[in-house]
Amino acid sequence: MRYLPLTPAERAEMLEVIGAARVDDLFADVPAEALLPGPIPGLPAHASEMAVERHMGALAAANLSAGEAPFFLGAGAYRHHIPAAVDHLIQRGEFLTAYTPYQPEIAQGTLQVLFEFQTQVARLFGTDVANASMYDGSTACWEAIAMAGRVTKRNRAVLSGGMHPHYSATATTMARFTGDRLDQRLPDLAPEPDDAALIAAIDDETSCVVVQYPDVLGRIPDLAAVGEAVHARGGLLVVVVTEPVALGLIEAPGHLGADIVVGEGQGLSVGLQFGGPYLGLFGCREKYVRQMPGRLCGQTVDADGRRGFVLTLTTREQHIRREKATSNICTNSGLCALAFSIHMSLLGGEGLARLARINHARASRTAEALARVPGVRLINASWFNEFAIELPRDAREIVRELAEYGILGGVSLGRLYPGSPGLARGLLLTTTETTTDEDVHALCTVLRELLVDSHEGSPT
């Protein structure tokens, strides 16, 4: 077996050193009735590399991948071009096959990357500090709510209607068990997010307001206004960013009063991967750093006085503090953080800004083209690279019909909000630098055809 180096002769030799007659003597503590006599029946035996590759290749080929189709999905997972150097570098064995840097003298590569990553995230978010990553945006979002509760010693969080529903659902699950109270609402299919309603929900027991930016429909909420209102009542402003490229164009949340900024870093070189692994980003004000979850890398010196890096402030963490830790998180998204950091190093701030403008311009042209399709109503007044339209009938059906034409035509709000008939005709569309004019043309052409029967008036 190609991954197992021991030979039968070596096994025998080692058993002799140990003083055991057979390998099952080493399993003597397992109750006899629980020790399986042989391979579990009904399961296949080992297979060659070629056979496994053939099997897995067939499963992969049974999917329609984004690169094979006009593709317009976003809603928390974004398809951007990944520079070839990124995937090459993250496959260097010294990064790929290293463990968490608990022995810093021989993990300076990983640690310096984390230090650079933390700096990049903090500058992107406009926060004082950022940590070494979380699992993903949705779990980072719950951690931010929990952290705001620790900071303010309050337990009522107000969630914007513009939150990604999976993020709200994750928080709802956790709050049910922790006893936190969540004040939630659905989005309206309106041109602007209802910041006023959100502000009206803030009271003196509010630990935080959680605002997604841009919101789930792609609209831009007024963070400064919400922040001012929640700060006046002694709560924190938590901002959620699901598309990091947006912050190349719109102002950093930390510059608009956010106390904690969390996000999904997947858009920068992590890839779609059917939903994971992704990359949770977490930044906050320096004064709250001891309430932060997750690993932090800090600068120090070695015995010779040379600069070096270590994991620090570990007394917040589970392996030291156990049940009093700020979070139970241990493994995070190290390799995804590396990919993000390499991409960010290639782009730089100026490159990110240019990429963001390209994304935005592409979305604007796409929105214009779609608005000319009879039966389509453009909902947003503002957007970055994602916007919502309203269709004359259930958007879930339209998405499935588009797929029959080989078009991956966005995310229906019916999929995101089942049981909310008022949103069922909404369709969320995203374009990035990977979207071509031909893709947009194909989408508009087929959509025009699909909507012929269902809108008032004749097709043009």
């Binding site: 150097a85 022995q103 650079e116 830790a325």
Partner: protein
């Protein structure tokens, strides 16, 4: 025992080394390359990405008031500079590709490259989690195929695939337990955790809203069944057990523990971090376990990546299966694979406790783990456990004359060998041995864990170490252990030969510098 590398350093060569030798203008020492921070290298305004379109498309008027005043202050580097920066940094890391990584409880085994190749197939890597299910049947089939393997290997009823790492899996298991207890109108307040448990166990129980109480260990390193039974009562929701445990021992009384827990209406959570010791040999479902997470990044070889990502699917007993989180992957009676999300849950998975993260789980880890499992098959996985346990016992017996092995008298260990600091010269500690191993060219073992042993050293070689490789590691550890017993002063200041000497962790924590220029 194998000869050391004939090209390696020998004592007659004298005290040369990276720290010795002539002064250099660069600060580098031959191939010991130093690398500045990206912020010290980069030029503001630089960029290593060429873009096809002009970037000056009009900005939407409604967006004007939200525009960023200036781009983030981040340098951009050309591709050659970027490749060199990260390649030079990579050389400051130890990794499993360079040698044994014997961290106890971490299962640092070889990461097969076929896994990497498969995970990058566009049909897995370039599909969106919210594509219509009709366009991703192959991906869902891969999830279900892995789920079927995990269920078969553990003898359980179902598996929740969404948890993103081991600790997230623990949370998933406890939320299933809590949902099940609440469903029978029996909310309970306490979770019992052995004192030898991973720190994530008590942290997770607290995160899930429970009070946490410790259960002591017996002198032979196992859960104290009598103490556990004495504490069990109607307020106990669950007991979290690690089996094999963090002392590297199989909990012989697991079934009795489970029976006692079930007798008071509580449930058994098993931390499956050490499943590598028994995969294919023992099914946790046969031991009365109700929930157990499986670290795909340990037992099933997905790379650790310098700290993640992981994946922590949770296998569930009949009592808990119906509470598994959304989305829930299954093969329907019609043979069609699908993911149950919120829309279908009221009809098809109504008791689910809900969603614990966006999307479906760590697909990139699922494809790697499934590739690994298919490569080994049922026979190979069994061999994995046997070789892992054989290697650990070989280490245990080869070192127990120079290191104190507190539980070795009681019989064999499982996949990891535990030593204490007893017998070291006064003033010498486990940390000195760890740092001495670094100079020998090895990554140290897990140190100071589990907490139940003084100065613990936990060595987990895994099955992917050859005998020759183990012999080299053992020879080095013997040498370092003897120096620590003899009180060799040079050991106190080790490592001398690594990219850095001992780092000042106190300074880092007292005056935190968490970013450049900040």
């Amino acid at each position: 025992m194998n000869a050391p590398n004939p090209a390696g350093w020998r004592p007659e060569m004298g005290e040369g080394g990276p720290a010795a030798g002539p002064a250099t203008a660069s600060g580098d020492r031959g191939l010991m390359l130093e690398e500045p921070l990206i912020f010290e290298l980069g030029r503001p305004g630089g960029c290593g990405v060429d873009m096809d379109e002009p970037g000056d498309g009009p900005v939407l008027p409604a967006l004007q008031r939200f525009l960023r005043a200036e781009p983030p202050a981040l340098p951009g580097l050309s591709e050659p500079e970027t490749v060199r920066h990260y390649t030079r940094l990579s050389r400051q890391n130890y990794a499993i590709d360079l040698g044994p990584f014997p961290l106890g409880s971490c299962t640092m085994k070889h990461n097969p490259r076929l896994n990497e190749k498969v995970a990058r197939l566009p049909g897995f890597a370039d599909i969106h989690p919210l594509q219509p299910q009709q366009t991703v049947r192959g991906a869902i089939a891969a999830v279900v195929e892995l789920a079927d393997w995990l269920i078969a290997l553990t003898g359980m009823s179902a598996v929740a695939m969404t948890p993103k790492a081991g600790a997230h899996g623990e949370l998933c298991g406890l939320l299933c337990i809590r949902a099940a207890l609440e469903a029978r109108g029996d909310a309970r307040a306490v979770v019992l955790v052995p004192e030898s448990a991973h720190g994530t166990n008590p942290a997770t129980a607290a995160f899930a809203g429970y009070g946490v109480e410790a259960i002591p260990a017996t002198p032979d390193g196992r859960v104290d069944l009598a103490a556990l039974e004495a504490r069990l009562g109607p307020d106990v929701a669950a007991v979290m057990i690690t089996n094999p445990n963090t002392c590297g021992l199989f909990e012989r009384d697991m079934k009795r523990i489970a029976d006692a827990v079930h007798a008071v209406g509580a449930l058994v959570y098993c931390d499956g971090a050490n499943f590598n010791a028994v995969v294919g040999k023992v099914r946790p479902g046969d031991l009365g376990i109700d929930a157990m997470h499986i670290n795909l990044h340990k037992t099933f070889s997905t790379p650790h990546g310098g700290g993640g990502p992981g994946a922590g699917p949770v296998v569930l007993s009949e009592a808990l299966a119906s509470f598994a989180p959304l989305p829930f992957a299954l093969r329907g009676a019609d043979g069609v694979v699908r993911l149950i999300e919120e829309e279908d849950a009221p009809a098809d998975h109504p008791r689910s406790f809900g969603r614990m993260a966006a999307f479906h789980g760590q697909m990139g880890m699922f494809t790697r783990a499934l590739t690994y499992i298919l490569s080994h098959g049922a026979d190979g996985l069994r061999q994995v456990a046997e070789d892992a346990v054989l290697n650990a016992n070989y280490v245990l017996r080869s070192l127990s004359d120079v290191l104190d092995a507190p539980y070795a008298h009681a019989g064999p260990c499982m996949h990891e060998a535990l030593f204490s600091d007893a017998g070291l010269a006064a003033g010498f500690s486990t940390l000195d041995i760890a740092k001495g191993l670094i100079d020998e060219g090895f990554h140290p073992m897990t140190v100071y864990f589990p907490l139940v042993v003084h100065g613990a050293m936990l060595v987990e070689p895994t099955e992917t170490e050859s005998k020759a490789g183990l012999d080299r590691f053992i020879a080095s550890l013997r040498s370092v252990a003897k120096r620590a017993r003899a009180g060799d002063a040079a050991l106190k200041s080790a490592p001398h030969l690594a990219p850095r000497r001992r780092l000042d962790e106190t300074l880092a924590a007292r005056k935190p510098v968490l970013g450049w220029g900040g």
